[in-house]
């Protein structure tokens, strides 16, 4: 026995081998390639493994095979439901293939993302997945030098580091706003907590749609540098309503904000959608069953995670060959529900200003 670990409790491959009356290599094979071992032996080995509660030592197999079977993942937030779906997809796809997913979060801070990337890279993952596109220069360099597949997800990048799977948040923000405009709304506000480029881009999309439609935006933006939350949605909504008496619709940059805004409207006695239309973003679970149900922009997060994992697995299995398309737009979809309504259906409570603006179209 070893000099160092006199009281080792954990059983090794050789312990299993001894108990099953075979050699260690055979046990190793029985675990990794069961089809290469006689059913009879396999059975004996399985029994021994079970009896000894044997768990392979990954450190040893990593060292021997120089395969870590680790996937590094950095998300912006662990608390946000958006990333939960994405992570679930990654787990669903990677675990059955024998890969481990190591997740770190950046809390929406680029510096923390850089640290997380460096930390993860130190574990020598076989691929890195980051849920953003705006890495620091050093983080980009680290990822590029690593030589492993790198996937930037959630949004579309102009110059991807390697692979990029996401959607255009600018286009989605634009579409959400266009949707409100086509419903006949003119006084359209936006509330958001722009902590990352995704939020910035959604707001940029809103602004483009408003500009193109020749609509005035002054006083219609409710922003905060605090993290998005339901509470914040309520606060920003209240601010907007107070500043802008003739508000007709609001693009909420995510569903948490939308939920808060909806509650605040209830509280203030503002009926949705009769007086104000509300559209959210991400289409989280509660959007569909809120009262009124929340119109929202569906972002296919599980799908994005699935696609990401599929591409990574393909590259790893294909010994590094990259797929033809390095940039994949996964799209989005507006889910129309009760919280938005055509303006002409609602009771005509028009201010002079509303009337004037309506004539612009």
């Amino acid at each position: 026995m070893s000099k160092r670990h006199e009281h080792r409790s954990r059983s090794r491959l050789s312990d299993v081998a001894e108990r099953a009356g075979v050699s260690a290599v055979t046990v190793s094979r029985a675990i990794r390639h069961p089809e290469m071992v006689t059913p009879k032996l396999r059975k004996r080995i399985d029994k021994a493994i079970h009896e000894l509660a044997y768990v392979p030592n990954r450190a040893a197999s990593m060292l021997a095979s120089s395969r870590t079977r680790l996937i590094g993942v950095v998300v912006s937030s662990l608390t946000n439901g958006v990333f939960a779906d994405f992570l679930r997809a990654l787990h669903d796809l990677f675990l059955p293939e024998g890969f481990h997913v190591m997740v770190l979060d950046s809390r929406y801070v680029p510096g923390e993302e850089e640290t997380a990337i460096a930390t993860l890279l130190g574990q020598h993952p076989e691929a890195m997945i980051v849920s953003s596109i705006d890495q620091t220069p050093r983080a980009r360099q680290l990822l590029k030098r690593s030589g492993i597949p790198v996937v930037q997800t959630m949004e579309l990048a102009k110059s991807p580091i390697d692979i990029n799977i996401g959607l255009s948040h600018e286009a989605a923000g634009y579409a959400a706003t266009r949707y409100l405009i086509e419903l006949g709304h003119r006084r359209i506000g936006v509330i958001g907590a722009p902590r990352d480029s995704r939020l910035h881009n959604r707001i940029a999309g809103y602004e483009r749609a408003m500009r193109e439609a020749g609509l005035d935006m002054t006083g219609l933006a409710g922003r905060s540098s605090n993290p998005s939350s339901v509470v914040l949605g309520g606060e920003l909504m209240r601010g907007l309503v107070e500043r802008c008496a003739d508000l007709e619709a609001v693009f909420c940059c995510n569903d948490d904000l939308a939920l808060g805004a909806l509650f605040e409207c209830h509280r203030l006695g503002i009926s949705v959608p009769e007086r104000i239309s509300l559209i959210g973003f991400n289409d989280l679970e509660y959007a569909a069953c809120a009262y009124p149900s929340l119109t929202s922009v569906l972002t296919p997060r599980y799908e994005m995670g699935r696609k990401t994992a599929e591409i990574v697995l393909e590259i790893i299995r294909g010994s590094g060959k990259r797929p033809p398309r390095r940039r994949i737009d996964i799209g989005f979809k507006i889910m129309e529900r009760e919280s938005t309504r055509r303006r002409d259906i609602r009771p005509p409570v028009r201010t002079a200003r509303n009337a004037r603006q309506s004539e612009q179209v």
Copy 2:
């Protein structure tokens, strides 16, 4: 050079040693215990490390030292906000100490939890944290045999595997129900999706409170084997209202269900709390700003994660010594808000049955 890795690109400890003109052991020490090496040598070694872009091979050091600096964590769900707070605390406490947190989820399935535990143990974590107490016998065995600190969290166990930090969900369910009873309610329903012992225990607490108060429970339980969700909360609430015309209050076994129930009440035109009082569980972020704001049972999840990490770090640093108390009750707290109200304040719309029951007290 090795026969197997002819094209090795990563430099090793011995490469650095050669370049710095020292032995490999000295390089190893210079990295781990810089104070044990002469400044002069240290400088030369640092230079060599930098020039070779040397990154230690964790697999090798794990194997050699049997120190992985890994913490294995199994939560019931990655999507549930409850575990997000808990995980955040773990990351907050462990990362600065140089530990990595590996998280897997069980989706509330004991079999998947067992798999997750086995998988995690294969990484040789220095501690395991599981967010439940009802492990399968095999999982318990694996954990016990592992010889590392094991913390079962979220709920209190009768016979903990090792350390246990949590709260009594039975007591919390009892307290929530007592709270409603003391508010003067008699026809109190419960909705829940009992997928784990926590939910079972909350319902058991409800039942004990009802029994003790001599209240009838027939037709007042809305259960489902589907996973908890906002949608499900709405469905169960509707079922309850349809079955029980004189419903006065509902204990929702978690806030997602409570949110769904609240929306459903809005939808059905049932005013909360005027006609029905609603109490949730967990006190998630949105509870405080819902309309009406949701009374809920606060479970200190971040605190629980913090305490867990502190104890684990203490044990690891103290070379395995366990703290005096192996079972820590972290408690809970009822957050009184607008969704619950005294029965005698509401307009007297009493059925014969209500009147009769009121006299029981």
